[in-house]
């Protein structure tokens, strides 16, 4: 098996990141957990799965076209990869991670001038990115002017590949609302109470259990489409059935996301005139997961079996 080596990172026009926006201080743990959960195991990690022995990734088309497609994908992967499975798992994971943070991901399409026909993708930040007819405009924050030496960066639309959270999961704006919603309230209590707690001071009139219950209802409500279970498997406030139901719904959302990313990459290949198509098989599809959930609701399948069938 040959080792696919990624070329040295190609240079693009877009500002890839804005260091002035990064917040080294406190990251909301709920948001952090949600983002992490969304992108973990959308595809088998490292392409390895024991349960799904029939899992496969295929590049269909002429060998030369497949090579072009792989080179394109390779530009998005983080590490060198040995197989198609590893490559696509890494690529999908990478794209999911971008989507998980911002609800959309943008990449600059760079056509290699040295090797005719080779195309690469360079991910850049979707922050302060605006779309105008025929172009994307990046407005560089003043704090990052020194780094990028420009106030505005204009990139033609034909050189940008954009992918968002699928509409069935609410689209990018709805996803960002979820993130801001999760960020809005602290799970463990309001700021004043946490302050009192640190000072070993008893807060009068504050009802901790009621606050936590309400916050959990709130988190579950705003992530209802995704079915995120807050990594909570206890039955303190919900039934075992409800926990499994949410978990399976979350697996469905991840399957939807995976299918959407593969479709968007295939659309990009068509757009870039690369005569290859990526086909993934052997993983539970979103429709299959919905059917499993229905079977569980009807009591035709045990919780354990249902869970087993949606994971890999």
């Amino acid at each position: 098996m040959r080792v696919m080596r990624r070329r040295s990172r190609p240079k693009g026009r877009a500002a890839t990141h804005f260091p002035s926006f990064s917040k080294p201080d406190f990251v909301n743990p709920t948001v952090h957990m949600f983002i992490e959960d969304v992108h973990i195991a959308v595809m088998p990690i490292g392409g390895r799965t024991e349960k799904r022995t029939d899992f496969s990734v295929t590049f269909q088309g002429e060998p030369i076209e497949c090579e072009r497609a792989k080179d394109l994908c390779l530009s998005l992967s983080r590490h060198r990869r040995y197989s198609d499975k590893e490559l696509m798992c890494d690529v999908v994971d990478q794209i999911t991670q971008y989507l998980a943070w911002y609800g959309r991901a943008v990449c600059e399409i760079i056509r290699d001038t040295d090797e005719i026909g080779k195309t690469y993708l360079l991910h850049f930040t979707p922050q302060r990115l605006y779309r105008i007819p025929g172009h994307y405009v990046q407005w560089v924050p003043s704090g990052d002017y020194e780094l990028w030496k420009k106030r505005f960066i204009v990139i033609p639309s034909k050189d940008v590949w954009e992918i968002s959270i699928p509409l069935i999961l609410g689209g990018a704006s709805s996803y960002r609302k979820i993130l801001s919603g999760l960020r809005r309230f602290e799970h463990l209590g309001p700021r004043f109470w946490r302050g009192d707690l640190e000072k070993q001071k008893l807060t009068k009139h504050y009802d901790f259990m009621e606050y936590v219950r309400n916050s959990e209802i709130y988190y579950d409500r705003i992530t209802q489409t995704w079915g995120w279970n807050r990594r909570d498997w206890t039955q303190e406030r919900s039934t075992e059935f409800f926990n499994f139901y949410r978990t399976i719904t979350f697996r469905w959302a991840q399957a939807v996301l995976r299918e959407h990313i593969i479709k968007e990459i295939n659309d990009l290949l068509v757009r870039l005139n690369i005569g290859s198509m990526i086909v993934i098989s052997g993983l539970p599809t979103s429709d299959e997961i919905l059917e499993i959930r229905k079977e569980m609701l009807d009591g035709r399948i045990s919780f354990g079996k249902a869970f087993d069938q949606v994971t890999f």
């Binding site: 809005r184 309230f185 799970h187 463990l188 309001p190 700021r191 004043f192 707690l197 640190e198 070993q200 807060t203 009068k204 009139h205 504050y206 009802d207 901790f208 606050y211 936590v212 219950r213 309400n214 916050s215 959990e216 209802i217 709130y218 579950d220 409500r221 209802q224 206890t234 039955q235 303190e236 406030r237 919900s238 039934t239 075992e240 059935f241 409800f242 139901y245 609701l297 009807d298 009591g299 045990s302 919780f303 354990g304």
Partner: protein
């Protein structure tokens, strides 16, 4: 409040402070509303008492009014007569005099009433604590009457005051005041009669139970602020205080000889009545209600949710313990009163009173069993029985007690009947516990409704599980906008609790009852009260009989509850119905063994006419058991039962036989009746040969013949054998169905049925087209009894004579009748035929 808005506001300290203030304000309003409601209730009750007061005075009042009207009508016609005799029509000043008189009477009555109370108080209540004296003051009729009298007295004074101030006379006041004064005077007579009741403090207990029911009503679902912990604690404290007063009252009553009889028994009946009401009310009380006294259960650090752990760690404290309620705190307070009452009255020899009380306890145990608390019912029963049995069966020195007080026998039987009551009540309650029924009831629950889980009338042991489900399903509603956990899941979770309760109940019914019966019988026998032991044994036999009858129903119910389970890995109780059935059967056999031993003991005593014939009952049951042991080839059981049965039969014959020799037909009839146990014994002994061959267990026949040989060898003359021959001859000679002949025919029929399942071979008669079948068995005796189409005309008696008695040396010259001879020949013939048949087949 909207969930997001709540969270938004909750970020500010002021919100929580404001919220606490609002809550406090509403609590204040609710507390006042509660107080007002309580007062309204009190006033309503007072008005009812007043109405009762009017009711008891209405006859006299009506008569007085009629009399006044008659006088009023007649009065104008009497004016000439007044003038003739010199009577003066009263002038206006009499108006004031009349009112003053009425007020005076009122004042006097008030004084007299309190003087009476002081007398009672001084005589009876001087040495009692305050809470009991309070009962006297809170006596409702007297309290209402005093208030009424005070009103009448003051109205009179007020009217006089107005007149003195120069206001005109109120003509209407005269009849009204007179009417009110009339009620007061007549009621005083009635109240005087009631005053004697005040010498009995238990008569005042009504107030205690009214109070208890009031506080109980408050904590039941639908009661005023029933879900508010503050109100629950208040109700608990008030009820606890009231129960303390009840305990004190019971102590006083028990110590006073004139009160410890009927009054104490009546008080205890009221207590049991309240307990019945309370057990049913528990279905409607939230399981976490502070009405139940609180107990702490400490959590496991590694099983507790993170938020609690986080707080505990950050504050350097331990995790807050879980609080559970003591569901039996009321029972713990009142059950000792019931035991005290039983003890005191039994010591005083008031058996009939205790017997009546046991009837009430029986009702309470039934309620417990119907509510599914079988184990609790047995705990109460154990306590009651220990108290009763210890008192009625005091250890006797020397010989066994030859007779008993009849009431003691009745008490023993009643106590021993209580497990049966529990079993039957529990069995009846099983009808409500089908999976379909429970699912249907859950379907009707509106989970967002606060009280709905209590409205569906689930057994009280289901309430905690429903309460566990409620917030979780509400959580789903709030988070998902709909209920996600399906009906089958909810049903299964509830069925888990039902299954656990049922398994515990089934096991208790089999194991605890056996333990209790053994304890009781052992105590009776150790204390040398065989008749009381027999009474209990007789009921125990009934218990196991009923248990065997109800077992298929229990199995059916268990299949319904245990079947079609959805959730894998859900902890589910295990119940082995076959094991349960074996246990019942073992316990039944154990009872029979005891019956046979107890029967032997009782044959030595003469039975008073008014005692049930336990010996007869036990002997009959033992006979049936001997047959069952032979039928099943159960040597152990036969060994345990046959010898006592043998002795019992001989004793019974001796007891029943006429003591004088006579040729009178009546005396002959008496002999025939007395011979019945001997014939039973011989019949069963004969079947021991048959079943020994059938099961290929010669030890069955040996067990029987050993006992016979031992007996006949000891007698060492032919008269004993002759006795059995006479018994046979008496029944064969007469053209009638012998006494107990039908019962023995039942054994014969069962034998035939049993032999029907033997393999058979068809044989054609020589020179004929007709054929017959022959049972394939090596024993000629078995083949004879298995003969087609009607089996054998012989019975166990014939077998016994042919194979045992006739072969004894001391029976050579004794004639046992033609049938036994025929049987011997038949056996020989059957042996030959079988050999020939075997030879033909070999050829």
């Amino acid at each position: 409040m909207n969930n997001s808005l709540f969270l938004y506001l909750s970020q500010f300290r002021i919100f929580w402070i404001f919220r606490a203030l609002v809550r406090r304000f509403f609590f204040w309003i609710e507390a006042n509303l509660f107080g007002a409601g309580y007062k309204i209730g009190e006033e309503k009750s007072n008005l009812q008492s007043l109405r009762a007061l009017f009711q008891v005075t209405q006859t006299q009042l009506f008569l007085a009014i009629i009399a006044a009207i008659v006088l009023q009508i007649v009065d104008p016609y009497l004016y000439p007569f007044y003038e003739f005799i010199g009577l003066r029509i009263p002038d206006d000043s009499d108006y004031v005099t009349l009112l003053a008189t009425v007020s005076g009477i009122g004042g006097v009555f008030i004084g007299l009433y309190y003087a009476g109370l002081s007398t009672v108080s001084g005589a009876i209540y001087s040495r009692v604590p305050n809470n009991i004296r309070d009962l006297l003051v809170q006596e409702r009729i007297g309290y209402v009457y005093m208030r009424y009298l005070a009103l009448v007295t003051f109205i009179g004074l007020a009217l006089i005051g107005l007149r003195i101030l120069g206001y005109p006379r109120i003509f209407l006041a005269v009849p009204i005041v007179v009417l009110m004064a009339g009620i007061g005077i007549i009621a005083f007579v009635k109240l005087g009669q009631r005053a004697f009741n005040l010498f009995d403090p238990t008569a005042l207990s009504n107030h205690i139970f009214v109070q208890l029911r009031h506080w109980l009503k408050m904590v039941k679902s639908g009661g005023f602020k029933y879900d508010d912990p503050s109100f629950q604690v208040h109700a608990n404290k008030q009820a606890s205080t009231t129960l303390d007063a009840l305990e004190t009252l019971a102590d006083i009553t028990a110590k006073e000889p004139h009160l410890s009889g009927k009054p104490f028994l009546v008080l205890t009946q009221y207590i049991i009545g309240f307990l019945n009401h309370y057990e049913k009310a528990k279905r409607f009380i939230p399981s976490e209600s502070r009405w139940y006294q609180q107990r702490y259960v400490h959590r496991d650090w590694y099983r507790t949710e993170e938020s609690r752990i986080d707080i505990a760690y950050k504050t350097g404290t331990s995790i807050q313990p879980e609080i559970t309620g003591d569901k039996y705190w009321v029972e713990r307070k009142v059950l000792p009163i019931i035991m005290l009452c039983i003890r005191v009255n039994l010591k005083a020899g008031r058996y009939s009173g205790v017997l009546e009380l046991l009837g009430y306890i029986d009702g309470y145990l039934k309620v417990l069993a119907k509510e599914g608390w079988v184990k609790k019912a047995f705990e109460v029963l154990s306590e009651v029985s220990e108290t009763v049995i210890k008192e009625i069966a005091l250890p006797e020195e020397g010989d066994v007690l030859k007779t008993e007080v009849l009431e003691k026998l009745a008490l023993s039987e009643t106590i021993a009947y209580l497990p049966i009551s529990i079993f039957v009540a529990f069995s009846e309650s099983l009808d409500e516990l089908s999976r379909g029924e429970i699912s249907e009831r859950i379907r009707h629950i509106q989970w967002s409704h606060l009280k709905d889980i209590y409205r569906q009338k689930f057994p009280s042991y289901c309430i905690p599980q429903l309460e566990w489900l409620k917030p979780r399903l509400t959580f789903e509603l709030l988070a998902e906008g709909r209920q996600v956990s399906p009906l089958w899941y909810q049903t299964e979770l509830l069925m888990q609790v039902v299954a656990e309760q049922l398994v515990e109940s089934f096991k208790t019914l089999v194991s605890e009852s056996a333990v209790l019966y053994r304890q009781w019988i052992n105590h009776m026998n150790t204390a040398r009260h065989p008749w009381l032991g027999a009474a209990i044994l007789s009921r125990e036999w009934e218990y196991w009989h009923k248990a065997e009858y109800h077992l298929p129903r229990i199995a059916e119910k268990w299949t319904d509850i245990n079947g079609s389970r959805y959730i894998e890995g859900l902890p589910w109780p295990d119940l082995d119905i076959d094991k349960l059935s074996r246990n019942v059967s073992d316990n039944r056999n154990e009872t029979l063994k005891h019956m046979s031993q107890q029967g032997t003991l009782l044959t030595l005593l003469s039975r008073p006419n008014n005692f049930p014939d336990y010996v007869g009952q036990f002997l009959h049951c033992c006979g049936e058991t001997v047959f069952e042991a032979l039928y099943e080839g159960n040597h152990e059981l036969l060994k345990a039962v046959f010898r006592p049965y043998f002795v019992g039969c001989l004793f019974t014959f001796d007891k029943l036989r006429p003591k004088t020799v006579s040729t009178d037909w009546r005396a002959q009839q008496e002999i025939k009746i007395a011979a019945a146990p001997l014939l039973d014994l011989m019949d069963l002994s004969g079947y021991s040969y048959l079943f020994a061959d059938y099961h290929d267990k010669p030890i069955l026949a040996k067990e029987v013949t050993d006992v016979w040989n031992e007996y006949l060898d000891k007698e060492a003359n032919s008269s004993s054998v002759k006795l059995f021959a006479i018994a046979v001859e008496l029944t064969e000679a007469a053209f009638e169905i012998p006494y107990r002949g039908i019962l023995r025919t039942t054994w014969q029929r069962k034998v035939s049925q049993r032999l029907m399942d033997l393999p058979r071979k068809r044989i054609y008669h020589r020179g004929s087209f007709t054929s017959d079948t022959i049972a394939i068995h090596k024993s000629p005796l078995v083949r004879i009894f298995a003969r087609e189409p009607y089996g054998s005309f012989n019975n166990g008696v014939d077998v016994f004579i042919a194979l045992f008695l006739c072969k004894r040396d001391d029976a050579k010259d004794i004639e046992f009748g033609w049938r036994s001879h025929e049987l011997s020949e038949e056996i020989e013939q059957a042996e030959k035929n079988y050999q020939q048949l075997s030879e033909v087949e070999d050829d």
